[in-house]
C-alpha cells in the first residue's frame, strides 16, 4: 500500500463516518465567522429551533464591512456611516450574544481580517479542520491544516452539527524547486502558478505546495500562497508542518501551553506527505524562472511578468478564449501588444487577506522609504490585516514611512479588496492591488484591478506605472 498525502492524513483524522453513497461526515475543529455570510445561518438555526453543537469551536470577527477611515472607525458600530453595513456588523454582534459565540469586536486590537486573525491568535492550529463562509479560508492550510471556504447553508450545518458532508478531493502537488530571484515574493509565485494551471486548474483537487522555495518561505509568505489556491480553482491549499510552522504557533493566545504544547508538537510533526504518497497530478516550477507578476485582465489567470506585453485575441486557439481576451482588453481599456510597464496606475491598494501581514508591509515600506508617490496617483491605501499588525508596524515606524510618501495609513479590514465599505475604485480607474481577484467591478463599479505583490504595488505608487521592483533593489533584497 502506498503512503498517504498530507491531505489524506488530515481527512482520515477527521472522518466521523463513511456512508454507502460515497459521502463522508467530516468533523470540523474550528469554525470562523464574519458578518457577511453568517446572518442567514443564525436565522436558519432560529427558525428550526436548533442550538450550537459546540460553542467553543466558533470564533467571529467583523471584517468585510468595517470602515478603515480612522475617524469613522472611532465611532465603533454606531459610527458606521453606511446603514446597511452597520446593520450587518450589528447583526453579527447580536447573533454572537444570542448564541454565546466568542466575538472579537470591531475596535478590539485583535480585530482584523478573519484569515489574518485566526493564525495570529493561534485559533488556527496545525492538524485542524477549519472552515469559514469565505473562500479565502484556504489561507489557513499554510499551517498544515485542512481549511476551506463554505457557503452559508454549510455555515449553518457546522453551527448545528460540527460536521460537514464531504466527498474526498483528489491530490495535487505543486513543487516549486530552487530559489526565488531577489524582488520575487510568495505573491508572484501564487500568480505564476495560476498563470500556468489556470483558474480551473485545481478544480476537484486539494493542493499541497512543496519544494525548496515553499520550505524557505516565512509563514506570512506561505499564507499568501495558500490564500490564492482558490484562484487556481482549488478549495484548499496546504503546506507540511516544519520548524517554521511550530515556531510561528508557539506562544500565541489560543495555542496549547506546557505539557499540552509538547504533546501537540509531537503530533504535528507527522503532518507531511509520506515519501511514497501518490498525487493524481504533479506540477513542477523552477523558482528561479518566476519574475515579478502583474495581472492585465479580468481573471487571475490573465497574468504576465512585468517585462511582458499584453496578448491579442488572435493569440488564442479557441473561440471562447479569443472572446475572453477581447472582452478583458475592452473592459481594461488596454490594447494588444502594450508593454505591462506602460500601464498607468490611478490608485494603489496594499492590504487584503492575501497581503496585509507584517512582512507584506515591511516589503512595501522598503521600496517606498524615502520616496514619494507619483503625482498621477490619486490615492495609495495601506490597510493592515489586523490591529496587532497595525501596532507592530507602528512600533517599527512603517506607518511614518507610508505617510511621508503620501500614502494613507488605515484601520484594519477587508477594505478595497472588495469594496464593501467605502474604499472603492472609481469607474475606469486602474489599481495596483495586493488583493486576490481582478474580476470586473470587484473593487468598484467599472474599476480595473491589477494584482501584484506589495513590493510591486509600492514601486507602481512611486512611478505611476507598473515598474519592475528589481530596479529599486539595492543591496538589501526582499
Amino acid at each position: 500500500m502506498s503512503g498517504q498525502t498530507l491531505y489524506d492524513k488530515l481527512w482520515m483524522d477527521h472522518l466521523v463516518e463513511e456512508r454507502d453513497d460515497g459521502t463522508s461526515l467530516i468533523y470540523i475543529d474550528r469554525h470562523l465567522l464574519h458578518e457577511v455570510t453568517s446572518p442567514q445561518a443564525f436565522e436558519g438555526l432560529r427558525l428550526a429551533g436548533r442550538n450550537l453543537w459546540r460553542r467553543d469551536s466558533n470564533l467571529a470577527v467583523p471584517d468585510h464591512n468595517v470602515p478603515t477611515d480612522l475617524t469613522e472607525r472611532q465611532g465603533g458600530i454606531e459610527g458606521i456611516v453606511d446603514a446597511t453595513s452597520q446593520l450587518q456588523v450589528q447583526t453579527l454582534e447580536d447573533n454572537c450574544v444570542d448564541f454565546n459565540v466568542k466575538q472579537i469586536p470591531i475596535n478590539d486590537e485583535r480585530q482584523g481580517i478573519v484569515h489574518v486573525v485566526g493564525p495570529e491568535q493561534g485559533a488556527t492550529l496545525p492538524g485542524m479542520t477549519i472552515v469559514c463562509g469565505d473562500s479565502h479560508t484556504s489561507t489557513h492550510g499554510a499551517l498544515g491544516s485542512l481549511a476551506h471556504g463554505i457557503g452559508t447553508s454549510e455555515v449553518e450545518h457546522v453551527l448545528a452539527t460540527q460536521c460537514l458532508v464531504q466527498t474526498k478531493m483528489k491530490n495535487m502537488r505543486i513543487d516549486i524547486f530552487g530559489s526565488l530571484q531577489a524582488g520575487v515574493t510568495a505573491k508572484d509565485v501564487a500568480l505564476a502558478v495560476i498563470g500556468q494551471i489556470g483558474t480551473a486548474g485545481g478544480s476537484g483537487y486539494a493542493i499541497e505546495f512543496a519544494g525548496q522555495v515553499v520550505r524557505s518561505l516565512s509563514m506570512e509568505g506561505r499564507m499568501t500562497l495558500c490564500n490564492m489556491s482558490i484562484e487556481a480553482g482549488a478549495r484548499m491549499g496546504m503546506i507540511a508542518v516544519d520548524s517554521i510552522t511550530i515556531d510561528y504557533v508557539r506562544g500565541r493566545p489560543y495555542a496549547p501551553k506546557g505539557e499540552l504544547w509538547e504533546r501537540a508538537v509531537k503530533s504535528w510533526k507527522k503532518l507531511c506527505s509520506d515519501n511514497d504518497a501518490i498525487f493524481e497530478r504533479e506540477i513542477r516550477i523552477d523558482g528561479a524562472s518566476i519574475e515579478p507578476q502583474v495581472t492585465w485582465g479580468t481573471s487571475p489567470e490573465m497574468v504576465l511578468p512585468i517585462v511582458g506585453r499584453l496578448p491579442s485575441p488572435e493569440d488564442a486557439t479557441d473561440s471562447t478564449k479569443k472572446e475572453a481576451i477581447r472582452r478583458a482588453l475592452e473592459y481594461m481599456d488596454l490594447a494588444p501588444g502594450t508593454p505591462v510597464s506602460d500601464i498607468p496606475v490611478d490608485r494603489v491598494f496594499i492590504g487584503s487577506c492575501t497581503n496585509s501581514r507584517i512582512e507584506d508591509l515591511r516589503q512595501a515600506a522598503q521600496i517606498i522609504k524615502g520616496r514619494n508617490i507619483a503625482a498621477s496617483v490619486k490615492q495609495a491605501l495601506v490597510v493592515p490585516g489586523s490591529g496587532i499588525v497595525k501596532t507592530q508596524a507602528e512600533a517599527e515606524g512603517l506607518d511614518k514611512i507610508f505617510l511621508a510618501a503620501g500614502m494613507e495609513w488605515r484601520a484594519p479590514g477587508c477594505s478595497m479588496c472588495l469594496g464593501m465599505n467605502s474604499d472603492t475604485l472609481g469607474d475606469g480607474e486602474h489599481c495596483a492591488s495586493t488583493s486576490n481577484r481582478n474580476f470586473e467591478g470587484r473593487q468598484g463599479f467599472g474599476g480595473r484591478t491589477h494584482l501584484v505583490s506589495p513590493a510591486m504595488a509600492a514601486a507602481a505608487a512611486v512611478t505611476g506605472y507598473f515598474t519592475d521592483v528589481r530596479e529599486f533593489l539595492g543591496s538589501d533584497s526582499i
Binding site: V16, E17, R19, D21, G22, T23, L25, Y27, V36, T37, P39, Q40, E43, A48, R50, D56, N65, T84, L87, Q88, T91, A123, L125, M128, G133, D134, S135, G149, I150, G151, S153, E156, H157, A160, T161, Q162, C163, V165, T167, T199, A200, S203, I230, G233, R235, Y254, R263, A264, S267, S299, T320, A324, L418, G419, M420, R437, F439, E440, G441, F445
Partner: protein, 216 residues
C-alpha cells in the same frame, strides 16, 4: 429545501468562460441579512447600465439591451447554459440565491467551481455538467431556435430535447441527487449520526485535548 424532479424550461445563454460570483451578484448586495430578493440584482453590473444599490427598486433602471436576460426571447428562462468554470471566485451563497430567485432551476456548463457547485444543491438549483462539445451544440441549437427548451430529468439523470428524441446522460452523486429529489434537510440527516459524532469527539478529547480548549 425546494425539491427538484423534472424541469421543462426555456434555455438562456451566459456565453462566457469563468463567470465569477462577483458577476453573478456584486458585493454591494451582500450586505443584506435575509436570504431572498436577490433575483432583481442577478448579473447586476452587466444587466443594467447603471450601478445598482441594495434595496433599490429596479423597475425604472436603464437596461443593457445586449444582455440576453433582457431580451424577450429568453423571458421566463429557467435553464441557464454556460461555459467553463462557472461560479468561480467567492463562496457567497448569494450567487445561487440570486439565480434561484430570478427563476433558474438548472445551470448547464462544461465545469463548475467547486464551492458554487456545492452551494447550488443546498438551494434547489441543479448544476449539470456536460462535455464542452455537447454544451457547444446546445449553444448553437439555442441561438438557432427562438424559445428553445430542454427537459432536465434528475431522477433518470438525463437532459432531453423537448421532442424526447435526443437524450444526453449526466451524473450527480447519489447523496446530492437524493437530497434534491426529496428536498431533504441535510442538518436533520447529519443529526441522525449524533451518537457517532459524540463518540468521535470523546476519542479526540483523549488523543488531541488541545483541540477542545475553551476560548473564553
Amino acid at each position: 429545501m425546494r425539491s427538484f424532479e423534472v424541469e421543462i424550461g426555456i434555455v438562456a445563454p451566459m456565453d462566457r468562460a469563468n463567470v465569477d460570483t462577483d458577476l453573478i451578484i456584486p458585493k454591494q448586495f451582500l450586505k443584506a441579512i435575509g436570504r431572498s430578493g436577490f433575483g432583481a440584482y442577478l448579473f447586476d453590473s452587466i444587466r443594467y447600465m447603471d450601478e445598482g444599490q441594495p434595496g433599490q427598486d429596479c423597475t425604472g433602471r436603464p437596461l443593457n439591451k445586449e444582455f440576453p436576460l433582457n431580451q424577450i426571447r429568453y423571458k421566463n428562462a429557467s435553464i441557464l447554459l454556460a461555459r467553463e468554470n462557472f461560479g468561480c471566485g467567492s463562496s457567497r451563497e448569494h450567487a445561487p440565491w440570486a439565480l434561484e430567485d430570478f427563476g433558474f432551476r438548472c445551470i448547464i456548463a462544461p465545469s463548475f467551481a467547486d464551492i458554487f457547485y456545492n452551494n447550488c444543491f443546498k438551494n434547489g438549483l441543479l448544476p449539470v455538467v456536460l462535455s464542452s462539445e455537447v454544451v457547444e451544440t446546445l449553444f448553437q441549437k439555442m441561438y438557432a431556435e427562438e424559445g428553445f427548451r430542454l427537459v432536465i430529468d434528475l431522477e433518470n439523470e438525463i437532459v432531453k430535447s423537448i421532442d424526447g428524441v435526443t437524450e444526453i446522460p449526466f451524473e450527480v452523486d447519489s447523496f446530492r441527487r437524493k437530497c434534491l429529489l426529496e428536498g431533504l434537510d441535510e442538518i436533520d440527516l447529519t443529526l441522525k449520526s449524533k451518537d457517532r459524532i459524540r463518540e468521535y469527539e470523546d476519542l479526540k478529547k483523549q488523543n488531541s485535548p488541545w483541540l477542545f480548549q475553551s476560548n473564553t
